[in-house]
């Protein structure tokens, strides 16, 4: 039996993958566009710069993906980033000799604890995630203000390894430098993507988000898994807090303000369904990259003001969500009818043969 071109496409590609592929295409088109608009755009320096800010949002987007997959949302990550960056920054100011592994571990644990608070309230307190994390967003931020007494952490007070980390060139290709923060972000993304695919926990996150009642019915620990998703999101926000500290060095009470919106935007633009059950880490990371590409590149275009830039980002998010429900639904329908035709064809052929 020879399979037609349609059947090859439909048996290998899923509509969700089309979504990721289209993101890659959009990113490529944008790069070409900016290259024609901005002098010297197509240089490694541009992407080195993009990668530095992209790394933090990407790590947050990975955590956010876990939470959004379960049909929840974590708005507190920006405050967690700020709190951890400030807390650990202050600690490092007093104890310069703490080993790096311990410092990063501490960030993960502290962030995890803050995320666990969200998890407990959502899972067992039955408070909707959007309300819970809106509350903790404010509480964590106020905690930071109280802790700091409006003092700031300064670059001078930090050990040199922290400050230098973002500027180490691990690998240089032409003028593009691969630096540790990006490597951390990509490593996190790979680990979690594999986890979603190969761990029962990952499978359960999809099941819970797409059919909570059904998940309960097959005996899944729904509450525990949602709790874990929030805890992991918090831990990753803690890691992002460390990256933030390392990148900026000077930490004020406004550190990480608004990062939660970028994380949610990255996830949504990356094709993770805001109603849970559908999405991938790869998509979310692409989403984070797209957003950062846009905001960094628009900054360099003199014709575009800061406000226009924000408006364009907002428009992008709306488009992403709308396309999620409209275009993807179309794609799925078309894909399914192609599948159905293919099945019918095979069955008639089978009948002739048998």
């Amino acid at each position: 039996m020879t399979a037609g071109p349609v059947s090859i496409v439909t048996s290998r590609v899923r509509p969700e993958q089309v979504r990721e592929a289209s993101l890659v295409v959009i990113i490529a088109l944008l790069i070409v566009f900016f290259a024609t608009q901005i002098d010297g755009y197509l240089s490694g320096t541009t992407f080195t710069r993009i990668s530095a800010s992209f790394a933090i949002v990407a790590v947050l987007a990975v955590g956010q993906t876990l939470v959004v997959l379960t049909r929840n949302v974590d708005l507190s990550v920006g405050s967690i980033v700020g709190l951890i960056a400030y807390g650990v920054g202050t600690l490092l100011g007093s104890f310069q000799d703490l080993p790096p592994v311990l410092v990063i571990g501490l960030c993960l644990v502290l962030g995890g604890v803050l995320g666990a608070i969200n998890g407990v309230i959502v899972s067992w307190g039955r408070v909707p995630a959007i309300v819970t994390t809106l509350g903790t967003l404010a509480i964590f931020r106020v905690l930071l203000v109280e802790l700091s007494g409006s003092k700031t952490v300064t670059t001078e007070s930090l050990p040199t390894w922290v400050v230098d980390l973002p500027r180490v060139d691990l690998l240089t290709i032409g003028t593009l430098d691969i630096r540790p923060l990006v490597v951390i972000a990509l490593a996190v993304a790979v680990v979690f993507q594999l986890g979603l695919r190969y761990l029962p926990f990952g499978r359960r996150l999809f099941a819970i988000g797409s059919n909570p009642d059904g998940a309960q019915l097959v005996g899944m620990p729904v509450k525990r898994d949602v709790f874990l998703a929030f805890t992991l999101s918090g831990a990753l926000a803690g890691l992002a807090g460390f990256m933030f500290l390392s990148r900026f060095g000077n930490i004020t009470v406004a550190a990480g303000l608004g990062l939660e919106l970028q994380a949610v935007a990255a996830v949504v633009v990356g094709g993770v369904n805001i109603f849970g059950g559908i999405g991938s880490i790869g998509g979310a990371v692409l989403g984070a990259f797209l957003i950062d590409l846009l905001s960094q590149s628009l900054t360099r275009m003199e014709a575009v003001s800061e406000f226009t830039r924000d408006a364009l980002l907002g428009l992008l998010i709306l488009l992403a969500v709308a396309s999620d429900s409209v275009i993807l639904a179309r794609l799925r329908a078309g894909w399914q009818s192609a599948r159905a035709r293919e099945m019918a064809r095979r069955e008639t052929e089978g009948a002739v043969v048998g």
């Binding site: 059947s7 439909t10 048996s11 899923r14 695919r197 190969y198 761990l199 029962p200 499978r203 359960r204 999809f206 099941a207 797409s210 059919n211 009642d213 059904g214 998940a215 309960q216 019915l217 097959v218 005996g219 059950g277 559908i278 894909w335 399914q336 599948r339 293919e342 099945m343 095979r346 069955e347």
Partner: protein, 506 residues
């Protein structure tokens, strides 16, 4: 009301209406006429076409052929709004009130002709008048939230009257009412009759039908069978008219001697839901659960699976008492439950067929490093695809891309893969095509042959009768009879399901 007084012209006439859904002929030339001031009962088995007929009359569904005649004029009723304009209003088993609005606001919620500004005084005077007409005492200022189901129904009736309804369709209005509330409702129906409203009353309770109806229409397989005045129709004739559906070719069960008792239930109850359920299922036996919609059979299934655990009675597996408080307990004791609600509780539609099949038994597919053994998973999926003849191009396709019948098979497979000893199937063939249905019947027979104890909950009477070794009949949360395969005739089971005297437990 006698014939002489009756207005010669019916308010609404349904003439030869047919409606088809996919492979199901829901209505097949059904007819019905409603006169002012009559209470007309519509009875029939599950799937006889009552609901579809109501939907056609209220504009929710459009007939394929046939016509609706209102006041002597042929009319097309394209929407619920059209029906409302013609004075046709339906109220359902579960009333639809807005809990945070007051009673008066609920009554006048769909009034569009009162301008943009709500005249609260007017609204309150009018709703008081409506409730007075119904003879009902209700605080019209209170929010609807605290009202009982019976009171909510009254609000719906008041809403209908305020819209000048001339035809009031009541779909099983008494199914969740107490005896006293039913009496009160009947008094309201009486006052409606006297004011010239035509009431179409759908009920599974023969006592009520024969108490309140002036005329009775019987539907079967979407066809009109008989319309008779109450005094001219004997109950046994009515029941005989309702059964005897065309079943076509049915799967032939292989009958054999069942093994030892696997699951025994004594006096199982859940407060306010069901009570006094006692039965035993043996290995290799299919125990059918028959009953009309609303008989609470699904609730018994959910209790056995620990979703909504019973709070009285005992459950024994292999003669040992067990406690089932969660689906995990049930699965540990070898019980599986394939739900009737494929979308809500059943499958995770975006996930692949393979992932759905392994979902309840993920721990078996987890290797020493805690990673999923996807190759094993795929092997299982292929095995079930072949065994259950799931028609799909790839086991990696999302479950949502399958047809209903094939989704049903995936759900069956997912539970069979837990290696259950007791399999509860809740409406396993509802809404699936004939071919898939035959497949499911074959699978059930194979499972019984292999020694599984099967509980088959089905509203499809011929299916239960044909597939079961014994049939347990429920009515409104109580067990009314258990029949052996030979004794389980359609008449006997339906009589027991409708609570007719003479149906005794065997």
């Amino acid at each position: 009301m006698t014939d002489e007084q009756r207005d010669p012209e019916p308010i609404i006439e349904v003439r030869g209406v047919s409606r088809r859904f996919g492979s199901t002929q829901a209505l097949d030339g059904a007819s019905l006429s409603l006169y002012p001031g009559e209470v007309h009962a519509l009875i029939g088995e599950n799937g006889a076409g009552k609901s579809t007929l109501i939907k056609v009359m209220t504009g929710v569904e459009q007939p394929d052929t046939g016509e609706l005649v209102v006041d002597g004029q042929p009319r097309s009723i394209a929407s619920a709004l059209d029906a409302q304009a013609l004075g046709i209003v339906a109220i359902y088993q579960e009333p639809m009130v807005f809990p945070d609005l007051s009673v008066a606001e609920n009554v006048f919620i769909s009034h569009r002709d009162r301008g943009r500004i709500v005249n609260r005084g007017q609204m309150q005077r009018d709703s008081k008048a409506v409730f007075q007409r119904l003879g009902v005492e209700l605080d019209i200022e209170q929010p609807a939230r605290g009202l009982t189901v019976a009171e909510q129904q009254t609000v719906e009736i008041a809403k209908a009257l305020s819209l000048n309804a001339r035809v009031l369709i009541m779909d099983e209005p008494t199914s969740s009412l107490s005896a006293n509330e039913t009496r009160r409702l009947f008094r309201i129906v009486e006052s409606l009759r006297q004011s010239g409203v035509a009431v179409l009353f759908i009920s599974h309770r023969m006592d009520e039908v024969f108490e309140i109806a002036d005329r009775i229409t019987i539907l079967r397989d979407g066809r009109w069978i008989r319309t008779a005045r109450r005094g001219e129709l004997a109950r046994d004739v009515a029941i005989r008219d309702m059964v005897g559906r065309d079943v076509g070719d049915f799967f032939k069960r292989s009958r054999h001697e069942p093994g030892p008792v696997v699951l025994e239930v004594r006096d199982l109850g859940l407060s306010g839901v069901f009570d006094g359920i006692s039965f035993a299922v043996r290995a290799g036996e299919v125990l059918g659960f028959a009953g009309l919609v609303g008989a609470r059979r699904t609730d018994v299934g959910l209790a056995l699976f620990g979703v909504a655990p019973a709070n009285s009675g005992t459950i024994e597996i292999d003669g040992k008492p067990v406690r089932i408080a969660s689906p995990n307990h049930a699965m540990r004791h070898g019980i599986a439950y394939a739900t009737e609600d494929r979308h809500g509780f059943g499958l995770v539609l975006p996930l692949s067929i393979a992932a759905n099949l392994s979902l309840p038994s993920l721990s078996r597919y987890t290797g020493p490093a805690g990673l999923l053994k996807r190759a094993d998973e795929a092997a299982t999926a292929r095995e079930y695809r072949d065994r259950l003849s799931i028609r799909t191009a790839s086991i990696e396709s999302p479950a949502g891309s399958l047809s209903g019948g094939n989704q049903q098979k995936v759900m069956l497979g997912k539970w069979l893969n837990t290696n259950p000893r007791v399999l509860i199937l809740d409406e396993p063939t509802r809404g699936i095509d004939v071919g898939a249905k035959a497949d499911v019947h074959r699978i059930i027979d194979d499972l019984a042959k292999a020694g599984m104890a099967v509980i088959l909950i089905s509203s499809d009477l011929p299916e239960v009768l044909n597939m079961s070794d014994r049939v347990l009949v429920m009515r409104e949360g109580r067990q009314t009879a258990v029949f052996g395969h030979e004794a389980a005739t359609a008449e006997a089971v339906l009589a027991a399901a409708m609570g007719e005297a003479g149906a005794t437990a065997a």
